[in-house]
Symmetry: C2
Subunit: 416 residues, 2 copies
């Protein structure tokens, strides 16, 4: 049996925020507060930067009700960070500082909630502490709307973003088809390298009202083919709705967002960077070619912070991931990331946690399988729908004040 | 007592769609189907164009449950139109055609759901039919997210759009302040001439997490003042969130969206129209001046079709407006628009309908009172909050399928 390890814990949030990353923080904090061997629970202000800068919030001081409201609160309430930590074998300056802080607060548990890069940070800290013989259990908690983490069936954050995207596409589809005078609408969706989010727009069409064409970064984007596909459909049905991933690129790997439209290209000749996003540029080019009325819509930050449209499944699983991380650490695990395994029980979706070595997930990217992309290259297949649909199910209970969301109000008392 | 008028009715939807315009259609259709003197209920395909083109859907053929789902369905389900009808005293071609169709289907009730321009259409039809002595009762049903209709306390559609804007601003506010590296975010909100929608962003700040600065079109926009206000705040607090109405303009009445940023201005010199919206342009200029990381977000169509965030108050009132229109017409009224009167009962908000002559509302615009705008010109006052807050209250019951909205699926059987 694993010996009990007594000491404090730190939870840090890292990378782009999501609608449910605070739900994972809640899972970690609540479980850690309830764990007998965990003597104190600290939240790092802005992830690893909070450790390096000795800025730790004492979670034990928070009102339990406010902590519970973290499930209602989008974005990273403790603050996030994008900080690439060195390899401890080459430069251990940051790690020495981390050790100093860990010793100061007797930190024996470290939970880091993030995507690929954060798992890399997590792995390096784990490796360093192990090497110098400081006993500390390090567990990664997955998070990313991009759903591109390796080794896990899906990631907390994806289901809610997918639900936001699908719902918004349904609504825009209704709006953009309201006149009989014709219109081409381009919706730009996040996902620089993987098309999970753009593909989720297909859930809207599956439910009766969504994009006609969807372009993912897994397939090289052919500008001429795209324009003729849209023009044909415009001629045929008058209204066309298109969803594109921000990460679509040509066969040479050049992002289409860097092309600009023909106008932007002319401007580029004067050495200026272009204005407007991909959606506006594609819409502009389609207007030039078809004469249609066009509109470019970028879902922007809204898609990753749309907590009011969170999936209950996603939110519950986000809490579960945090809880599982603490339970695993208390049980003696370290150097692992919590991952999800999909089970089908009596034909119904269910999800269990498992542990993966941090080393096996850090810095890898999981893309949409090519066989889940339609042969036409402009849509996803039923397999994609079957994969994504269970992840957006259910409406979580929401707490309102004045009929607007009531977010957690933490005291954030700094440890000294 | 008014004599009973037997005959068919037509309901048409016009202008920009909203989250609850179909709820008003439901109010009209359901009440008309239940009214003994109304022999048939037609929905005009694309508003007045559907009348001119003899494209009328038979609402009696629809499944009652699907009709009820109109309350769950954003945008104009019958199709909308932007068509400026002539003055019947100058050119009666369209009106002769309308009369022909009205006679063909024995139409004695005409309900038109829209904003300023639609009330103008409504008034002209009413005037023409009255002049030539064809008995038909014409009632306008108000609708506009812009909330700029004259003579009514507020308009159906505004409360839901305001709620979408406030909720989205709360979420973006959480997201945009997540890093400690500083960011300036500009959110562009609809409203070409009136700042009701942009002002609604203040509801987010009132609830604890929203824009720092809000600019309405009621106040001349001073570009230099704006830039220095933002720069000062950025220096002070690192993160700044700004909401601007798309309609902000300088003292000469020129829209700021036509300025472009300094880059766009250079491009204009080559005679090209600019790319990107106001938010991107302002963000770009703020980046140039402050060196900050910036992001421009346009809420675009999402704010007017965001039915999933509809206000229950707004939705109920939208149904009420449709119902009141039919009841008034059946009771003998014509040439009127349904309007709202705000009552305070035991300190609580309540709303009653009244009737206004179409002539008194057509083509007029109601703006935000200057005394509801902060002296600084970059925010609204508590009076604005007190006005808007009751209108966003309550979450309507929503119907889901696969956890996504279940919209009405109408048969749309064409009358012959």
């Amino acid at each position: 049996m694993e010996k009990t390890l007594r000491g404090a814990c730190i939870i840090g949030q890292s990378g782009g925020p999501t609608a449910v990353i605070n739900a994972s923080a809640y899972g970690v904090i609540r479980t850690a507060l309830d764990a007998e061997c965990i003597t104190k629970v600290y939240g790092a202000a802005h992830g690893i930067k909070g450790v390096l800068n000795d800025r730790l919030y004492i979670m034990d001081e928070e009102d339990p009700y406010e902590l519970e409201l973290l499930k209602n609160t989008p974005s990273s309430e403790l603050g996030s960070v994008r900080y690439k930590i060195a390899d401890p074998d080459k430069d251990d300056k940051d790690f020495k500082r981390i050790l100093e802080i860990f010793k100061k607060y007797d930190v024996r548990y470290f939970f880091y909630n993030g995507g690929n890069d954060s798992m890399d940070t997590c792995e390096k800290i784990s490796r360093y502490l192990d090497r110098i013989g400081y006993e500390c259990r390090v567990i990664g908690v997955p998070k990313t709307i991009d759903n591109d983490l390796y080794g896990t069936d899906h990631c907390p954050g994806f289901g809610s973003a997918a639900k936001y995207i699908a719902t918004s596409c349904m609504e825009v589809s209704k709006d953009a088809r309201v006149y009989d005078t014709g219109m081409i609408t381009v919706i730009e969706i996040m996902g620089r390298h993987a098309g999970w989010l753009a593909g989720s727009a297909a859930l809207a069409s599956f439910c009766g009202s969504g994009p006609d064409l969807i372009y993912l970064p897994e397939v090289d984007f052919d500008y001429e083919k795209f324009c003729s596909e849209v023009a044909d459909l415009y001629k045929k049905q008058g209204n066309v709705l298109i969803a594109v991933s921000e990460g679509i690129h040509d066969a040479n790997g050049k992002f289409i967002s860097e092309y600009g439209s023909s106008l932007a290209k002319e401007k580029d000749a004067f050495g200026h960077s272009q204005l407007g996003g991909l959606a506006v540029q594609l819409a502009d080019e389609l207007k030039r070619r078809t004469g249609a009325k066009v509109r470019g819509i970028e879902l922007s930050l809204l898609q990753r912070c749309g907590a009011h449209l969170a999936s209950k499944t996603d939110l519950d699983e986000a809490v579960l991931a945090g809880k599982a991380a603490v339970e695993a650490a208390v049980a003696g695990e370290t150097g692992k990331m919590v991952a999800f395994e999909r089970k089908t029980v009596n034909g119904n979706y269910s999800c269990e946690t498992k542990l993966l070595p941090l080393k096996s997930v850090a810095n890898l990217e999981k893309k949409v399988p090519l066989e889940w992309i339609a042969k036409s290259g402009n849509n996803v297949t039923q397999e994609f729908i079957d994969y994504a649909l269970p992840l957006i199910q259910g409406q979580p209970e929401r707490v309102y004040e004045n009929s607007l969301p009531r977010y957690a109000r933490l005291k954030k008392v700094l440890a000294k």
